[in-house]
Structure formats: C-alpha cells, structure tokens
C-alpha cells in the first residue's frame, strides 16, 4: 500500500435511516421506472441508458434525479425479489424517490452539499449513514499507476 486512500465526506439530508455500505453504481442520467426498470431482475431496462442490464443488487445506487412515471417505485419493489440496492444516494428527488426508498427500506440520503454523481464513481466504496445524513466515499485505487 504505497498509495494513500482518498476519502471524501458528503453531507446531505436523511431520507431513510440506517447504515449500509457497498460498491457504488453511478448514473449521471436520471433513472426511469415503470416498464423501464425490472424489479425482479434488478436492473434498468431503459433503452439508451448507461445502466441498461447492469444489476444494482447490493450496490449503493447513486443517481442524479428520477424521471417519468410513478412506476419509479419499482426500484424499491426490487426488495420483494432480493435484488435491491444496499442504499440510495441521489442529488435531487421528489416523492417518487422517497417512495422507492421507503419500499426498499434501505439507508437513503439526498440534498447534498455537492453533487454526489460528480464526486462518486462506479466502483468506489461508499458508506451511507442514513441516520446522520452522511455519505463517506473511499475512492477506488486506479490500477496501473
């Protein structure tokens, strides 16, 4: 370990309490529900989406915003199939993100002091403290350097 691990703290607002950690799966494109998420398979089925067919099970799902139908709650309904994310972290939401988080019942934080999708990259290790509204990011080490 000759390279120092970079740690970043993001301060936000609690949506759902509890603490969870995992590898980040980041979407800079808003997430869309209803037909465009498959809760059973646990991934987005939206054509043109960077996360198309990429499982979010056990990941910290980091995204910008929701868009579209009330069927966004299917991101939370993945809980019924055990394919749900370990936590949600998002830049800005509305009642659809709140409902998805309530249904999944996993630690969820939003309204940060900085844009989480700018700070967190897919593969980073993220600790989400829903109770404190804090997210700790441990940057993945760049290989080959």
């Amino acid at each position: 370990m000759n390279k120092q691990t970079e740690r970043i703290i993001l301060k936000g607002r609690k949506v759902i309490g509890g603490v969870a950690e995992g590898e980040a799966l980041v979407s800079k494109m808003p997430l869309m529900g209803w037909g465009n998420v498959d809760p059973q398979r646990g991934y987005t089925t939206e054509r043109n989406h960077p996360l198309f067919e990429i499982p979010f099970k056990g990941k910290v799902l980091v995204f910008t915003e929701p868009r579209g139908s009330g069927g966004f709650v299917s991101y939370g309904m993945s809980r019924m199939f055990g394919t749900h994310p370990a936590a949600f972290v998002y830049r800005k939401g509305n009642n659809l993100t709140v409902f998805a988080a309530m249904v999944a019942n996993v630690p969820t934080v939003t309204d940060f002091d900085q844009d989480p999708t700018e700070v967190i990259e897919t593969g980073d290790h993220v600790i989400v403290n829903g109770d404190k509204g804090i997210v700790e990011v441990i940057k993945k080490r760049k290989t080959g350097r």
């Binding site: 209803w34 037909g35 998420v37 009330g70 309530m102």
Partner: protein, 424 residues
C-alpha cells in the same frame, strides 16, 4: 413533523387501525420527504384504485370493502385514474382477443374489485386523462394529491392547484397530504426561461418539445415562451412528455397559465437562473430517438397515449373513412370519451375500418401483450413519445421496434402495414 391534535388522535388509533395505518404512512412519508406538516386537501384526489405506494402501509381491497360497508367515505372529491389490474380494459374488451382481457369472468372480477372504491365515493373515470372528463376541477390555489405523468403538470400548471405525485387511498381517506415541494409557493416559481425558437404546429411538435425540455430540466420549473396557443390535445401531449422525458411537474406559459399573468409573475419577481433555447434540431433529435428500429413492417398501431380527447377520436374516424386496416389498430381513450364517440358514431366508423376503440387501458398497462392470444408485437407504430419510450421496457426481454410519428403517419401504417413516416 408538527401534527394537529386531530392528526395525533388518528395516529394514536382513535379512528381505528386503518385510519391509523394511513396516518402512519403520511407521517413517515412526510418526514422522509422533509415536510414539516400535513395540509388539508381542499382540491381533489386522483388515484390508481387498488394500488398502494408502500406495501408496509397497504390498505387491501377487502379492507376497503369493509370500510365501505360500514358507511365510511372519502374525505375529499376523488377520481379514478386507470385501474392498474393487469389486463383490465373498461370498454371494447369483448373483441380485443387478448387474454385475460377478453374473458367475461376476468372482466367481471376487475369490476367487482373496484366496487368498494366507488362505494366510498371514488368517481369511476378510469383514465389517465380523467381531468378532461371528470366535470369537476380543483380551484386554483387549492391543495390536491394526483398521480400520472400528464396529470401532474395539468393540475399544477394548467389548473393552478398544488400537487405532488402522491394521490392514493390514504390521501383520499384522510383528506390530508404532506405539505412540501409543489405545495409551497416558492417552489412553484419558474427558475428557467425556455425560449422555443421553432414554430410548434402539429400535435407531434408539442410532444417532441415537451420531451426536449424535460430532458434538459429534470425537476426544474420552466417558463415557456414562444410556444403559441396550444390546443387541449397539444397541452396533454406536451405535459406527458415534460414529465416523462424529465420530471417537470410545474411550468408557466406567461399570459396563459393561471399563476403567470406575466413573465415576471412566472418567476415570482426573481431573475431566471438559466435561459435555454429549444430549436428545430432539438425536436429532430428527439424524433430520431423515438424511431427505435429499422424495420418498416408495422404489425401493431397504438394511438391514444395519453387517452385521446374526443377531437382526436373524431380525427381518427375521419382519416379511416373509406379505408381498411391491414394490421391491428388500437385507439385508446377514457370511458367517458368512449361514450361520446359512441353517440357521435365515431366508434362505428373506426370499427368499420377494422380498427378498435378501447377505453381505460393502454399497451403499457398490458405489458405490451396486445396481440392475440397474449403476445407482444414486433414493430409498433405510435404517436406518443411516452408510450414509445416505455414500451420497449415493458416488452423486455423481447426486442420490440418502435416507429414514431404523427397520427396521420400511424393511420397510414395501420392501413398499409408499412411505416412511411419521415421527419418533415
């Protein structure tokens, strides 16, 4: 959250376990959303009967039936959005050929399941465009709780009543909803000035424009200038796209929508934080994205997302006059417009040409199972960006292609079985 004494009593169970469960839902939801209090709904509720947002606080159909039987009623005027029972079609189901929609026993079961909600006072509009046929609108400045993509901008922007995307049994039963986001005056101000730099003429132009704006804005509130004077059908299409391509719940059209008598009023006296332009190239880009696939041998044509107005149904009937469909054509509308179309003879005209007029459902709600006995089409033609963009997901993992264009393009595809639409 700060609760009133009455709300605390309900939370303590003084009005029974179901009312307590509903209050627990509103309180937990409100706290997670950052709301400080509940507001009394003095507008209306729009709900998907049978659906619950969060299973932990679900009220079952049996529980609703028990409440209805002992004379309990919704606290506020409540209207039905589409019933979400998979496969339920209100009118036209008998001849659709798709299972289980076309089975009388299935249809009756769906109707029976909806009865308790109607007994409690829900008006059986059963449509995503219930707001066009409900005969009763919430007044400007009131608080409401609605659902559905095109309906949310309708209640906020067009009617000036205040609503998040949270209508449900719980809000209708207690007549309350967490007060945050769209309920608060400051959040309804425009922050982005959107200049439309191309003339919007066709209905499709408003669909494409709404998507282009939604994509750029996400949750922000725009003031839209240079969009002309949209018709009812054009507003419905624009709203649907604004809240599908993005999450625009509220907008202003200065001089037209009720909270924006002037441009200054739209911004509540502040300066725009952003100014953006939408050009013809933006509409073209969305049009190309909606044309998903390369095949031109269309086998299913879907019109009426959101549910068509009577003027659109009339136009379909006219375009089909003297023609014969060679592939399956579904024209979706509300049960109330279906009755009007029946009275006006449009249903007969559409059916004489081999098309089908259906109410209370859409291909998306049927998970794309629109081809008898219960299969998905291969190439769909539609005039709706919303239906277009969701249907490939609904049909997943089957790969379905979508052709997108004007109503005229779609009718031509229904008649010839070929897609001839192109950007014009």
């Amino acid at each position: 959250m700060r609760l009133t004494d009455e709300e605390k009593r309900i939370l303590n169970g003084e009005r029974g376990e179901i009312a307590q469960r509903c209050m627990k839902f509103l309180v937990e939801y409100g706290e997670a959303a950052g709301a400080e209090y509940l507001v009394d709904i003095d507008g209306t509720v729009d709900m998907h009967p049978g659906a619950n947002w969060v299973p932990a606080y679900s009220v079952s159909r049996e529980e609703v039936a028990a409440l209805a039987a002992r004379g309990e009623r919704f606290k506020v005027p409540t209207f039905s959005d589409k019933a979400t029972a998979p496969g339920f079609i209100v009118d036209g189901w008998e001849t659709c050929g798709v299972h289980p929609s076309c089975e009388p026993a299935f249809h009756q079961k769906c109707l029976d399941d909806l009865k308790p909600y109607i007994e409690m006072g829900m008006i059986p509009t059963f449509s995503c465009t219930h707001y066009l046929v409900s005969s009763f609108w919430p007044a400007p400045g009131t608080h409401s709780a609605w659902v559905e993509s095109s309906a949310i901008p309708w209640v906020n922007a067009v009617l000036g009543s205040r609503s998040n995307f949270d209508g449900c049994f719980q809000t209708a039963y207690l007549g309350k909803v967490p007060a945050y986001d769209m309920h608060l005056t400051e959040n309804r101000a425009a922050t982005v000035l959107v200049r439309c730099e191309t003339e919007l003429k066709r209905d499709m132009d408003y669909d494409l424009f709404g998507w282009a704006v939604g994509e750029r804005l996400g949750l922000k509130v725009p003031a839209l200038v240079g969009i002309g004077r949209p018709t009812t059908a054009q507003l419905v299409k624009m709203n649907s796209s604004l809240n599908t391509g993005g999450q625009v719940r509220m907008y202003h059209i200065p001089g037209i929508t009720p909270e924006a008598p002037t441009l200054e009023a739209a911004f509540q006296g502040k300066k725009p934080r952003e100014v953006i332009s939408i050009t013809r190239d933006d509409l073209r880009r969305v049009y190309d994205m909606m044309n998903y696939g390369s095949r031109d041998d269309v086998d299913f044509v879907h019109l009426g997302c959101p549910h068509y107005t009577i003027q659109e149904v009339r136009k379909v009937a006219e375009l089909l006059d003297g023609k014969k469909c060679s592939v399956r054509l579904w024209v979706m509308t509300s049960p109330q417009v279906y009755s009007l179309a029946e009275a006006a003879g449009y249903r007969k005209k559409i059916e004489a040409a081999g098309g089908m007029l259906l109410s209370g459902a859409c291909a998306g709600l049927l998970k794309g199972n629109t081809m008898p006995p219960a299969n998905k089409p291969s190439v769909i033609a539609t005039d709706s960006a919303k239906q277009d963009y969701y249907i490939t997901g609904h049909c997943y993992p089957e790969k379905v292609q979508v052709r997108y264009g004007t109503m005229e393009d779609c009718i031509e595809a229904a008649v010839t079985g070929r897609w001839k639409g192109e950007w014009r």
